[in-house]
Amino acid sequence: MKKITLLSVAFLIVVGLNASSKIENIQSGSTIREYSKPGAPVDMEFNTTHVDINATSDVNLTLITTVRKGNFNVLITLDDNLTTVNELDQNLSFVITPERQKFLINFQVKSEKQGLFYIRLLTQVDQGHGLKLRSFAVPVYIGKKPKTLVRSSPQMKALANGENISISKAIETIRIIKEK
């Protein structure tokens, strides 16, 4: 009996530890009411699940336009470290009508690496008198959420006078004009 109790406790601890390490936060956002530069009249809402490495993140995108007619194209690209779990047509086309101004795109992604990755959307609205485009990026967090970005270059240097600079090497040409 004692053995069974001990095994059960150990089992529960293992299960509990696993449960506590599993990440299942919903990351959501919307561009509605946000300022935007000139471009296609398109807004985006998104939900992605913040998951662990190799776990499946659900991606739910909603694209909304105020235009009542025209063609609407969406090109979806993923960061190299993200892969789609299910089949995804990355080049989508829709016809906008007064009844159809909202478009839902759902799929799943995963990653073998930890970090912040992006799904990028390039949307295009064509009403027959000039294209308009708008780009979006959808963040997908895998594993521990980064507080800062990892970078290799350029070099950031803090100077004694409190000035922070990012230094790059210039292409330099030197010529002696006049000797003394």
Partner: protein
């Protein structure tokens, strides 16, 4: 503890000794070794095709000069021995001690005392300023020439090296518009501006330290934000976008904009404040560059962007609510190309003068009405030509700042007058419409003029009118520069609301909208020191609700700090 202090002191003393022993002291101008040179960067032009696509044309990249940039001569110990700025040709001259190792550092900072001070920093790297620098070389004893160049980093296929040219391209675009301003007002002083650009800046809002800046924008806090996301959306060479966003900085510092921001597009039927602000900024991009082709490159290899002609684009939805109409009107008033209804060439000065004076101080919300009213009052002899250009956008003659006498009702969305009037002790009804979208579209908000004769506490009430309920919000502005929000009704999710404020004699503007953006109607009343809605009152509150969306240029991004 003492050991650590001792160690620190030793390091400090040694550092001072090294610096002292370097013996490198600055020399006077004309003494020592002379270093001259020119600073350049890679400028990537745009190519626009017949089917409406705009792309960065890397094959035709050319060297452009880096103007008014801060330059420092630095010795091997990191000591600054001389500094200057480049001239309008990108040239500099420095005098340094003879026969010592010196390197030249170029800052992505345009600096001219009491004229301008703007720099480009990496918002994803502790706001560090971008610089390029040469190697340490002997200064010699005569004159030497050191030219420094910032490369684009493009190798013919992709960006395989640091994009060093980008910060200098951004500064050069801003210099273009600042020179335009200086051409009509040589004594102007530009406030400090920080341009946040990074290769990590992506088109989604979130944490700016991670590059989640939402879009290229000006945030009203002396900060400009520029996208840099390769194969998605980079804006460093899109000069019209840089100038567009800088023009919002101009409005903020030298004129006034009551725009509430939000998503907007050329064919939208917009809130008049948004339509004017965005149309003005688009027009400024064409005026500053004398190029009406506004472009925005994006996509793989920055090769699938779009463009529009600021002067002659297709009239999708012309009217006083259209940013495209505003930009076409302003550009036609400015340009030398007279065509059709455009028989006027005012140049930039009258536009500038109207913006910095009457537009800034108008009692109405800033719009095409306030601007044209200001322009006409200062250029009486051109009134018929101005009216003609305005009429070409289906806007009949503008007689005042409030846009009275409209015939274009935006397909029945607006009934004239655009501004209502509310008197003390009376009520009016108003309706909210979402036919063209929500938040910043025409029909979402009602503007109400109020005049107060005697100082007192006043209550504005809003309650349902008819069958369609909503969530009324009332905002009050003092109708004078800077047109700040004085208070806002406090309730969320309620079908009635009220705002109690202490008012002094003068003119005020009230904005009423349905925060649920339904098609709804409200009765709005104004009472002096009344007990109506007492249970829901605030006392002249300037506190803002968490979901407040109606202060100037709101919600464009989370603030960094």
């Amino acid at each position: 503890m003492l050991k650590n202090v001792f160690k620190t002191l030793i390091v400090l003393i040694l550092t001072l000794i090294i610096i002292g022993c370097s013996g490198n002291k600055p020399v006077k101008e004309g003494e020592g070794a002379k270093i001259i040179g020119t600073i350049t960067y890679d400028r990537v032009p745009v190519y626009v095709d017949a089917i409406g696509t705009a792309k960065l044309d890397y094959d035709n990249t050319y060297k452009e000069t880096g103007k008014y940039l801060l330059i420092k001569a630095i010795d091997e110990n990191g000591q600054v021995l001389a500094q200057t700025t480049t001239n309008n040709q990108g040239e500099y001259t420095l005098y340094v001690p003879e026969d010592i190792d010196i390197k030249i550092r170029v800052y992505a900072r345009m600096f001219k005392e009491d004229v301008w001070d703007l720099s480009v920093v990496d918002n994803t790297n502790l706001k560090s300023m971008y610089v390029i620098e040469g190697a340490l070389h002997d200064s010699g004893d005569g004159t030497s020439k050191r030219d420094l160049h910032a490369a684009s980093g493009w190798d013919g296929q992709s960006y395989s090296a640091p994009r060093d040219a980008a910060p200098f391209a951004i500064l050069d675009s801003i210099n273009t518009i600042m020179q335009k301003i200086l051409s009509v007002n040589p004594n102007i002083k530009f406030p400090h501006l920080l341009v946040n650009w990074s290769i990590n800046n992506v088109p989604i809002g979130g944490d700016p330290d991670l590059g989640q800046i939402g879009t290229s924008s000006y945030t009203g806090d002396n900060n400009l934000w520029i996208l840099g996301d390769v194969n998605s959306d980079t804006d460093e060479y899109d000069d019209h976008i840089i100038i567009h966003e800088w023009s919002h900085f101009f409005e903020d510092k030298f004129s006034r904009s009551d725009s509430i921001g939000g998503r907007h597009s050329a064919g939208d039927t917009l809130d008049i404040r948004v339509a004017f602000g965005e149309g003005f900024a688009n027009a400024m991009s064409a005026i500053a560059t004398d190029n009406p082709i506004y472009f925005d490159t994006s996509g793989f290899n920055q090769a699938s962007g779009w463009f529009m002609n600021i002067e002659s684009s297709y009239q999708e939805n012309p009217g006083w609510f259209s940013e495209a109409s505003v930009q076409r009107i302003l550009y036609d008033l400015y340009d030398t190309n007279n065509d059709g209804s455009d028989q006027i060439h005012l140049g930039f000065k009258p536009i500038f003068n109207a913006m910095v004076d009457k537009e800034r101080n108008t009692k109405a919300f800033t719009s095409i009405f306030t601007f044209i009213n200001a322009l006409k009052s200062e250029n009486n002899s051109y009134n018929s030509e101005i009216d003609q250009v305005v009429a070409s956008e289906q806007i009949n003659t503008i007689y005042d700042a409030y846009g009275n006498y409209r015939s274009n009702s935006a397909h029945g969305i607006i009934t004239s007058p655009i501004y209502r009037t509310l008197e003390v002790g009376k009520w009016i009804s108003q309706c909210n419409k979402n036919n063209y979208g929500v938040y910043n579209k025409l029909g979402n908000r009602t503007f109400i003029k109020v005049h107060i004769d005697t100082a007192n506490i006043y209550t504005f009430g809003a309650k349902p009118f008819g069958a369609n309920y909503g969530d009324p919000d009332i905002v009050i502005y003092k109708a004078e520069y800077p047109y700040d929000v004085m208070g806002m009704s406090p309730l969320e999710g309620e079908s009635s609301d009220a705002l109690t404020v202490n008012l002094t004699p003068g003119d005020y503007m009230i904005e009423v909208y349905d925060n649920s953006y339904n098609n709804s109607c409200f009765v709005i009343n104004l009472e002096k020191d009344t007990t109506v809605y007492r249970s829901k009152m605030t006392k002249g509150s300037t506190a803002q609700k968490p979901s407040l969306h109606n202060y100037r240029r709101p919600e464009r991004r989370p603030q960094t700090k």
